[in-house]
């Protein structure tokens, strides 16, 4: 039998023991035996998939078994294994930033401005709920509402993708806000309040324009402010060094 030294924070789950005798010819087998003897330890040693949790380091003498053969490292009789947690955490989301094509977002903003502008010029208010619907549908599907237009235009090679390390969630949130404002605008039309309806449509045009020409996404900034205030569901923080709402500096 070999032994395992249990770290202080896990001892309450092993009847307070500092050292436990275990069976097993490998590190993995020894830890499984430990979890069998003290089932409450299992959740802290292994994840839901049965793999050793990232923070669980096992030392055989002075050596971390990750530098040997990991869980397959042989264990001899009288060896002592030490479980040493790696202490880690932080404010950042476990999901790193992802690649976001800002050309797709800009084509989306241009479509929103063009269609709402056309609606105003032609006094065709019916376009407002249509644009709002496309924006909300896009958010529900996790993409820009007019992504199909971008895909078609890409075939013509009119634009080059501009890909940044960024979070897609704030852009989706901004699009959702725009869609909601257009839904409110449509409701105002139905209620016989055309000046309020057009005012709301122009708010969306102005903010899409600010984003398209000024590179500032107000809806994204709102998302990051809500994150800073700890509002549930707003899990992403701005990419390092980026002012909330501004386009990230570094292209991929």
């Amino acid at each position: 039998m070999s032994s395992v030294r249990v770290p202080t924070p896990l001892r309450p789950y092993a009847e307070g023991l500092k050292t436990v005798e275990v069976d097993g010819a490998t590190v993995g087998a020894a830890l499984q035996d430990l979890a069998l003897r003290y089932p409450q330890l299992r959740a802290h040693l292994f994840d839901e998939g049965g793999s050793l949790r990232s923070f669980v380091h096992v030392f055989l003498g002075e050596q971390d078994v990750r530098e040997l053969s990991g869980e397959a490292t042989p264990v001899r009789k009288d060896d002592q294994l030490l479980i040493v947690p790696s202490i880690a955490g932080g404010s950042g989301s476990p999901a790193p930033t992802r690649r976001v094509d800002h050309t797709a977002l800009r084509v989306n903003q241009a479509m929103i401005i063009a269609l709402l502008g056309a609606a105003y010029v032609a006094n065709a208010a019916v376009l407002i709920p249509l644009v709002g619907f496309m924006m909300l549908l896009g958010s529900a599907l996790g993409r820009p509402g007019f992504a199909a237009v971008y895909s078609a235009l890409r075939g013509l090679r009119l634009f080059r993708p501009e890909v940044y390390d960024d979070n897609p969630e704030p852009h989706r949130f901004a699009q959702t806000l725009g869609g909601i404002v257009l839904a409110a605008s449509s409701a105002a039309f139905l209620a016989g309040l055309p000046s309020i309806a057009w005012f709301l449509a122009w708010v969306v045009i102005a903010l899409a324009g600010l984003n398209l020409f000024g590179g500032y996404c107000l809806g994204c900034a709102v998302y990051y402010w809500l994150n800073r205030w700890g509002v549930p569901g707003f899990t992403q923080t701005p990419p390092p060094g980026v002012t909330p709402g501004r386009r990230p500096a570094g292209k991929v």
Partner: protein, 142 residues
């Protein structure tokens, strides 16, 4: 759970967060445990071993640093009772990352550092089922 800690130690751990800003600063809290109470006696500020570029949103303490500090603590009749770290420009609340990497029993002190100034420190412990953090009362002596 309650953490009893001197005002001086709270000031020191907050200052560590300010010094490390805009990166996260972290260290260990040494002391003793008595049932549901953790009594802090000393701090051990440690290097944030997260890779370059990640330290603004992550901290990591090398397991070998933990082993070394545990040995030192044991010689002085103390033990590691908790971990402190800072959240630069972020609330003093545990994140999903904090929960995934957390250990039970330890008390976690999180300090929000806004624009280089420590504004709030809160205490937490991981629930037995790992599903959430529970608040820990931080009591300082007058």
């Amino acid at each position: 759970m309650t953490l009893l800690i001197s005002e001086d130690l709270v000031r020191d751990l907050r200052r560590h967060g300010e010094t490390a800003y805009p990166e996260e600063g972290a260290g260990l809290i040494l002391g003793s445990a008595d049932g549901e109470t953790r009594l802090a006696a000393q701090l051990r500020p440690l290097a944030n071993r997260s890779p370059d570029g990640a330290r603004r949103r992550r901290y990591e303490i090398d397991p070998r640093d933990l082993m070394r500090v545990e040995d030192e603590a044991e010689q002085g009749g103390l033990e590691v009772v908790g971990i402190y770290h800072s959240h630069p420009d972020h609330p003093a609340a545990p994140s999903e990352t904090d929960r995934e990497w957390a250990l039970p029993w330890y008390v976690y002190v999180i300090t929000s550092v806004q624009g280089g100034r420590a504004v709030e420190s809160t205490g937490w412990r991981l629930a037995d089922n790992r599903a959430r953090f529970e608040p820990v009362l931080i009591r300082t002596d007058p």
